[in-house]
């Protein structure tokens, strides 16, 4: 069953109901990840309220909303990046291919090998370009010999659209690259361990428009093989790169639907106000 659910525009906060997104339910996409009744607390403060969402396979899903709306908190729930935060509690059910990702028997390190992440600021390791990409495959034992490792590195850099720019200087430090190149290096590093899902937390916010366009093209290409979830402050970017968009406000999922619909004819007044620049 691939019914996408989202919280109905809330009139009564105590009884969140599920709304079937018709447009989304119609097409026969496969659901990669689901969230049901997800509540997140930082100590006594509640950051997310009853979030229901389905992430479709091999598609880009964008999470938008004003600062503090909970979109990054939600993104971090998807690969348990909230675990190390003291006082953070996650309630509800989150699944990857139907399996509970908060199962106590599950090793979060292995989970994060399946769900990679790219951050706001490019953060290459203080190592060579080659070693940056080879790091993951090495610790996860994905290559049996040096030649295979080299192959994985080359392929990952190729997929990240960086190979042509760096193939003659793989031994140079990753930090010697430009900001946009560093971000693509981080994407290469993320895909080197062959994840199924890539989470991106504002991956272009420190990049210029040309580097941003490169990353966006990359997202298009990568979405053929990977499920991508991106948090972005740029509404135009969400409109450009994603197939579905979720709008968060004050810790609630206000509206979730096809990106075309969200940006031309949003159903909820709060979505309309936010994307047209009437509050934020």
């Amino acid at each position: 069953m691939n019914v996408m659910t989202a919280e109905r525009p809330v009139t009564d906060d105590k009884t969140p109901r599920r709304m079937v997104d018709r447009e989304v339910a119609d097409d026969s996409c496969h659901i990669k990840m689901t969230a049901r009744d997800v509540n997140v607390f930082y100590g006594d403060a509640q950051a997310l309220f009853n979030v229901d969402i389905d992430i479709a396979d091999n598609e880009v899903t964008a999470l938008i909303g004003p600062s503090g709306c909970g979109k990054s908190t939600f993104l971090r729930c998807l690969n348990r990046m909230n675990d190390p935060i003291r006082g953070c509690r996650v309630q509800g059910r989150l699944t990857l291919d139907g399996d509970d990702i908060y199962d106590p028997d599950l090793d979060p390190v292995l989970l994060r090998a399946r769900i990679g992440m790219v951050f706001q600021k490019p953060n290459p390791f203080p190592k060579s370009i080659f070693d940056n990409v080879a790091y993951g495959p090495r610790i996860h034992g994905l290559a049996s010999d040096k030649a295979e490792l080299g192959e994985i590195v080359t392929m990952s850099l190729e997929k990240a659209g960086l190979l042509n720019e760096v193939k003659d200087r793989l031994d140079q430090p990753g930090t010697s690259l430009s900001g946009g190149q560093q971000q693509r290096l981080c994407i290469a590093r993320a895909i080197a361990i062959r994840p199924e899902v890539i989470l991106m937390d504002e991956p272009c916010s420190s990049l210029d428009p040309v580097a941003t366009a490169r990353i966006e093209r990359l997202m298009d290409e990568l979405s053929e093989d990977y499920t991508i979830v991106i948090v972005t402050h740029s509404m135009q970017q969400a409109a450009r790169v994603s197939k579905r968009t979720a709008f968060f406000h004050l810790g609630k999922l206000v509206e979730f639907g096809g990106t075309d619909q969200i940006f031309t004819n949003p159903k909820d007044q709060r979505t309309q106000d936010y994307i047209t620049g009437r509050f934020g």
Partner: protein, 237 residues
């Protein structure tokens, strides 16, 4: 809808709306004046109408220019985007309506040369209805009233049926007295212009519906003008 965080954005949008309201008012005036000119064989008024059309054209150019600028600067989405797209379309429709009023005015010169003709009743009826429709659709736009736009949309059928009977009526005059052929032919063209104004008014109504609801009006437009396939039997006297 609330205000934008950026105030100048609101000013740009309201600038578009103001210009459209101005343009709509001018189109209304032009149509009313064109009908009066025709009735009174008033060539001075007709000349005035022809000259004034330039003002409507100028407003259309201004609206287009401003709308393109807002698109480029603000990258509008959702309701704002519809507002701008609809403004562009409305400006085009109103410009065409202005042109049709001008065409009607042009007929005044030819009719003034012909023998006096008294049978203006039906033409005036269709003119009044078109004017009322135009006024109603402009009201609907100003109030973003999709219901009212919808009623204008439905009323176009009446305009079409009036046009069809006027077509037959004028043919009857021509058959009855061939000396009226000159005047009646001009009136027939004038009536066709009015019928086309009705079609553009219908376009505007559809766009108001889209503006308010975010989706196109999902009904088939009635095909009202049947004169293209009309067959008239000539009766020997």
């Amino acid at each position: 809808m609330g205000e934008h965080i950026v105030k100048t954005y609101d000013e740009e949008l309201s600038g578009l709306r103001t210009r459209l309201a101005h343009m709509g008012g001018l189109a209304e005036e032009q149509l009313a004046a064109a009908m009066n000119g025709l009735n009174g064989r008033d060539t001075a008024l007709a000349r005035n109408i022809i000259d004034s059309d330039e003002k409507i054209d100028e407003l259309e150019r201004e609206i287009e220019e401003k709308a393109i600028l807002v698109l480029a600067k603000r990258q509008p989405v959702a309701g704002d985007l519809r507002e701008i797209v609809v403004a562009l379309r409305l400006a085009m429709d109103l410009e065409r309506i202005g042109d049709f009023a001008k065409n009607i005015a042009k007929r005044t010169f030819a009719i003034a040369e012909e023998r006096p003709f008294r049978e203006f009743g039906s033409l005036n009826r269709i003119g009044r209805l078109a004017l009322e429709q135009l006024k109603n659709v402009l009201d609907a736009y100003a109030r973003k009233d999709a219901e009212k736009a919808l009623s204008v949309w439905h009323a176009d059928e009446e305009l079409d049926s009036l046009y069809n009977s006027l077509f037959r009526e004028l043919l009857t005059y021509m058959m009855g007295d061939p000396r009226t052929i000159g005047t009646c032919t001009h009136l027939l063209f004038g009536a066709k212009n009015i019928e086309r104004i009705g079609d553009h008014t219908t376009n505007i109504a559809e766009n108001i519906y889209f503006l308010v609801h975010g989706e196109a009006l999902d009904v088939k437009r009635p095909k009202g003008d049947t004169t293209s396939v009309a067959h008239i039997d000539y009766v020997e006297k």
